[in-house]
Symmetry: C2
Subunit: 422 residues, 2 copies
């Protein structure tokens, strides 16, 4: 625990989200309220790589208004990276370098904003004090659209992508319903989520008791069965005239192979990486003879700050704020976690998770969140998801576009000699 005034390091890691900057905002604004304990907040330019290469950003050079605008700005304002530190025994050099940089810039607090891999990096950094004799207080700030972190009830970033997918599924379903008489009868939307079906599940929220919409969800947790899938789609089109399919990018067959990996070749024999949506579309065409359209939301879904969920923004900010408060209490190697107090009305609070319980563990959709046929969500799942997409938090607009902030990102002068190659 830092007893004298020290600087803080903050970095963003892995795939970015529409609210990760809201967490950054929570970290920086809270740190600024404790100037007696925390000096400056230095952000890593492009995540942990910024720390390794001594490429630090002095966030104090940006005004209070600019930092406040992070709350409504998607993506990673300081740059993110995909870079996982190896174990201390495998790569002592990188840890020693981190300590050199931390010492040179009087850094006593380490805030790392990311998912499961990043929690592992943060855990390793939190152990530097013990293993290499450098006192650091390391707190992880949870972030992942995939919603696959354990302990925390949900992950900041997920609620907004869930809302985007639910809204898009609703809107596209209205569209295909209009066209179905003479044209498109099946619309297929491919969404993210890696090995977890949380994002795909959110598509099912578009259908409600009052306004039933025929939706088929394809989860990575359920082995894909082509015959059952086509029978399901065929039955829904017969009953409703149309249907919408929300397919997770991670859908796998019974053999464990990704459905998207179909060995596509162009006319010259070059391999083409397609998504899962066109593969499903081909099955619908060949197996049922139905006209289809397909879309792949890709980055649009996780960057869509314009349709972020209000709860998600609040939780992203709150976890950033809590991380600083935990660090000031001397809590090392922990992560603020969201604890659900009640479903309806939805109430939540921040608790504390130990990083060793978070790192490198994925949380999948429980089987009782998926209907017996494997193509939909249960009422239990709906109760879980519904509050996470609630509420709107529109960004300010100017000239028809969201008025997102671009920070100055002024570099901290380097103090160390020589470059460090990552």
């Amino acid at each position: 625990m830092a007893t004298k005034k020290m600087n803080a390091f903050y970095a963003q890691s892995g795939g970015v989200t529409s609210v990760i900057n809201a967490s950054a905002c929570g970290v920086i604004e809270t740190a600024r309220q404790h100037k007696d304990r925390i000096g400056k907040v230095y952000a890593g330019r492009n995540g942990i790589i910024g720390a390794l290469t001594e490429d630090l950003i002095d966030t104090s050079k940006d005004s209070a208004a600019a930092i406040a605008a992070l709350r409504h700005t998607p993506s990673g304002a300081f740059g993110s990276c995909r870079y996982k530190l190896k174990g201390l025994d495998q790569n002592r050099r990188e840890y020693e370098r981190l300590i050199e940089v931390f010492k040179a810039h009087n850094i006593g607090y380490f805030f790392y904003n990311g998912g499961g891999d990043s929690a592992d990096t943060c855990l390793k950094v939190s152990q530097l004090g013990e293993s290499l004799g450098y006192p650091i207080t390391a707190v992880h700030v949870p972030k992942t659209v995939d919603n696959d972190l354990p302990i925390t009830d949900n992950c900041p970033g997920f609620g907004s992508v869930a809302k985007y997918v639910a809204v898009s599924t609703l809107e596209a379903s209205f569209d295909v319903a209009s066209m179905a008489k003479t044209s498109t009868k099946v619309f297929i939307l491919e969404v993210m989520g890696r090995h977890a079906g949380w994002i795909a599940a959110a598509g099912a929220l578009a259908s409600t008791a009052k306004r039933e919409i025929p939706i088929v969800i394809l989860f990575p947790e359920v082995a894909f069965n082509k015959e059952k899938f086509l029978a399901k789609v065929g039955a829904l089109v017969k009953k409703f005239g149309y249907c919408t399919v929300v397919a997770s990018e991670g859908v796998k067959g019974a053999d464990g192979a990704f459905l998207s990996d179909q060995g596509l070749r162009d006319a010259f024999g070059h391999a083409q990486l397609g998504g899962v949506a066109p593969v499903i579309a081909g099955m619908v065409k060949d197996g049922l003879g139905l006209k289809y359209h397909w879309g792949v939301a890709d980055y649009l879904q996780r960057a869509a700050r314009h349709i972020a969920a209000k709860t998600d923004v609040a939780q992203a900010y709150a976890t950033g704020k809590a991380a600083v408060e935990l660090a000031l209490k001397g809590r090392n190697s922990v992560m603020p976690a969201i604890k659900r107090v009640s479903d309806k009305p939805y109430k939540w609070k921040i608790e504390v998770a130990e990083l060793k319980d978070v790192a490198n563990r994925e949380k999948f959709m429980p089987r009782d969140f998926i209907t017996a046929d494997g193509f939909g969500i249960t009422e239990k799942c709906r109760r879980y998801l519904a509050p996470l997409i609630a509420g709107e938090d529109f960004p300010p607009f100017r000239d028809g576009l969201p008025n997102y902030v671009v920070l100055k990102n002024v570099a901290v002068p380097k103090k160390l000699k020589g470059d460090f190659k990552v």
Copy 2:
């Protein structure tokens, strides 16, 4: 011109948009204000097919509140269709059937809401009075996301899809900029527009003088040149670290063949219809060795009422309203057209176009709207596009989702004997 009180027929045609129901709202609400002249508004279930099969919807069965909610509901509330009437000499049977149905239901006004093909259908119906001796006043209501109708300065439906594409391009660009250091450097977004590049052009609005974003637009109007394209992307990635490509679905090579038509085959030799985005992605990977992501917006872009442009909603409503007012003045075979009065401040008014000047003509991007290198938009184009995406008109939300209306769509009892096959 109907001098006694007669009913009106309204139908939606072709691909739907996020604001075509706002036009329906304008038609129905205005007709309800003229009950001395117009009896009921009957909507065709699934467009003109509803008229041919005597499958009419009595819109008077829906409340004023439900009709008002059409203004914020995307897609076609009565169903649309892709069905083009042949010429009178080729298919006299269909025209005679229309007259039978119109007579049976005392229909004297015909409002047809669609694009270029639909304008042609409306034109043919407008000539029924002359050719088959049945008095009908036919007015076309413009609608197309492709913005390719002549005479009118812009088409209702386009502004909102343009806003969606500009917002999505902005958000995805922020995302890829965050990831570029160690991961994705090029993001490719495929958008609609058929043979016209208007929608793709809107992606360029994400970059402004104050906040420059490296964006490459691929227009159908410019023959695709792979070497020039890769050189452009390579140069932008070198300068900015990343770049975003917005590709129109209709991009063609110098040989006139669609770029999306690459003869893709799966492992079993089955032909696969991919989009243009994965084809571009493959070029970026093979030609430049850069990591990429790609998205295909498809129906999401034209159904995205949640991010509709305020001007677009207003114009969609205004053209519906004007159509009824023109009909009441006895104007047959016309279309309300949007006339731009000034760019800045943006002012517009409704004028009248003759259908013979509108039908079957496409309006492409003028060459002076496209930069010399063929990959961007000029200031002239920006002045044209900017006001069309201005303003927000968020729908009401409930439980985290837009509260879109589903009408009762009560059928009008049939009066004719026998079925009519289309």
